[in-house]
Amino acid sequence: MTHAVPPLAELRALKREGLARDPGRTRALLGELVDPLDLEAAGALLSAPTAHEQLSGVPGLTGGRVALLGSSTLHQLPHLLTAAMVRDGILPDVRSAGFDQWQWEIMSGAPELKDHRPDLTALLLDDHALYGRIADPLDIDAVEAACAAFPGTLREWTAACHELLGGLTVLCTVPLSPLSRDRIVDYRTKARLDAAWYRMNAEILDIGGALPATVVLSYTGIAAHAGGTVFGSHRMRHIAGQVYAPEFLRAYADELSRVARAQLGGAKKCLVLDLDDTLWGGILGDDGLAALRIGGAYPGSAHQELQELARDLAAQGVVLAIASKNDDDTVREAVATHPDMVLSPSSFAAVRANWAPKPGNVRELATELNLGRDALVFVDDSPVERGLMRRALPEVTTVELPPDAAGFAAHVAARGDFGVLALTGEDRDRARLYQAGARRAEARDNAADLEEYLQDLGSRLTVEAAGPLNTERISQLFGKTNQFNLTGRRFTVDDIARPAAGAGFYAARLTDRFGDNGLIAALALSAEPRGGWRIDNLVLSCRVFSRGVEDCLVALLLRAARRRGAPAVLAAFHPTPKNHRFADFYLRHGFIEAASGQVASGQDVRQDTGQDVRQDFRHDLDDIADPPRWIGVAEPEGAFHAH
């Protein structure tokens, strides 16, 4: 896109007018900045208190607190990270520990970072962190010993960091600088150094699987996104202790932003694909089915590669849909019959093939799939269609594809829009779940009335307490559910595995005659001092909306509380940018609004809006509605308990 005004200058002008006037434009401008120095300058602009004030509370921007630690000078990183995160829909509050203070900061109880209560703490080390422990860099035995010991040090550090700061800890493997290797003259010793270094990094990567709430990034993956660059100029290293190249730090900031997005529930869920010259080469309507190019020689190979990527994303839980300017029956025939198609009709949860403008089609797709429009990623080779989508639906992520199809798949994959912290069984099954959803919709359309349909579904609900097998999924449900999420409060795997005294976490599973929907709801419960129960958060997957599951859960919970002699159940609604549809949920279920004095304060409620507009409710358990007749419940008496 050509600009009369460079993006950075436009951003400065926008800031003078007030960034909140057009946050979509702010994010779009950030998306156009590629050079790390420009991105750093943009981040500096956005980090200023005035800009932060302008953007806080803006719809579409979630708040997030980040702590940064390192062994070299990282003063560009907070700004780069701010620019990347605002672009990706998060308004961060970033705090850094001092130069090379990473170990001291955590060993001394995190004096700089503790009161920041970071959602995410990132540690970026360079080889000085190792060589600082070795008297003689030529003493290869000592280097090997230090490399062998370092992962243990990092593991202890990570555990202590997590204990002190909570949230997610993000480590990164450590690159060996050329000078450290090149000072050795013989190849045998060089090889021993490299081998020790690779072993060390492999063990660092293992820490992610061994400790809760820990993600380990590989510096080689980040460098690949930085054009292969890791280290900065030697002059900046000498002048300022700056080891990493701005390009590497930019790619690292992008990766941290993706991790934060996955953690804060902003991962995308659905890939909407154009067909002609995107998923296949050629124009179906003009060239005919036989002329389409999929596989074989380039460019067919490039389109096939994109199909293979879509297939693999779907296998990991990404929902696929088609938005194409074509006749519907022609498209369905082509997808079903072309012998080189990697994807098949069953790969797609929804298809919109017609001649209407694509934004309207994509809006309908979101409704049909019951997904927020900001969960969609739109991929189309046509710059005109992309421009139209950006203008009409800025909340949809529109991918700026490279001009040559050869790069389509690599470009879409590198964006990391669908990144999650850990994949669950439910994620892998999602494509099947959405197909079952389509069959349910068909049954609904054929049923005479809604209740008959619901009866006919044969729904069965099972409530289960959190345990080793479902903790990951419960944390993910709290993290990824945006619409039916009554307080916006997220819980990490660690929060759930080690709940505070008197607290408990529950999940609910729903099956019906079309299959198992998996875990579809999560509930956080705690005990009040005077014996009451408190719902700290209740989330319900959008897949099972309109089936009365939430009514059933509340009825079960209220009954359980009464049976165990609790005087009341307390709850709160905390508005977030997405949950307004459910603002009256507790009122509809017989709760009454409680004056704030009636409710114990001090709850750590995440405030996505930046404003304290939380509403408190209580239910005195006198009159409890029956659960819906069409949902069978396994062990309805034993479902919930607060200690």
């Binding site: 300058a41 602009l45 003063h75 900046m236 002048i239 300022a240 701005p246």
Partner: protein, 110 residues
């Protein structure tokens, strides 16, 4: 004539054409260098360009610190597509001296 006392081309500043683009070393435009240096300093430190003169001491600009000094070095070098003499960069106390260094660098005299 001492370079510090040279005035910026205020007409260019006022006309709104604040981005003269990268400098062409074949055709040195000293005024453009001055405008660029001033703009980069103003942008990086988020101060009003109009308040900056060649006599402005860098240390007097709000927000000036060692981190911003390094940022300025990187941005100036990118804009000039040349490496600045580090000692002379560190000893440049005023905007005028910085501009002078940039001009000398462009002319290959630094």
């Amino acid at each position: 004539m001492p370079i510090d006392s040279e005035r910026l081309d205020s007409e260019r500043l006022d006309s709104g054409t604040l981005d003269p683009g990268p400098l062409d070393p074949e055709r040195l435009d000293y005024d453009a260098v001055a405008v660029n240096v001033t703009r980069i300093v103003a942008d990086l430190l988020e101060v009003d360009e109009a308040g900056l003169t060649p006599a402005t001491l860098l240390a007097d600009i709000e927000g000036w610190d060692s981190v911003n000094q390094m940022r300025l070095l990187l941005h100036l070098e990118r804009d000039l597509a040349a490496s600045l003499d580090y000692d002379r960069f560190l000893s440049a106390a005023s905007l005028g001296q910085l501009t002078s260094l940039a001009r000398h660098t462009m002319a290959g005299l630094a």
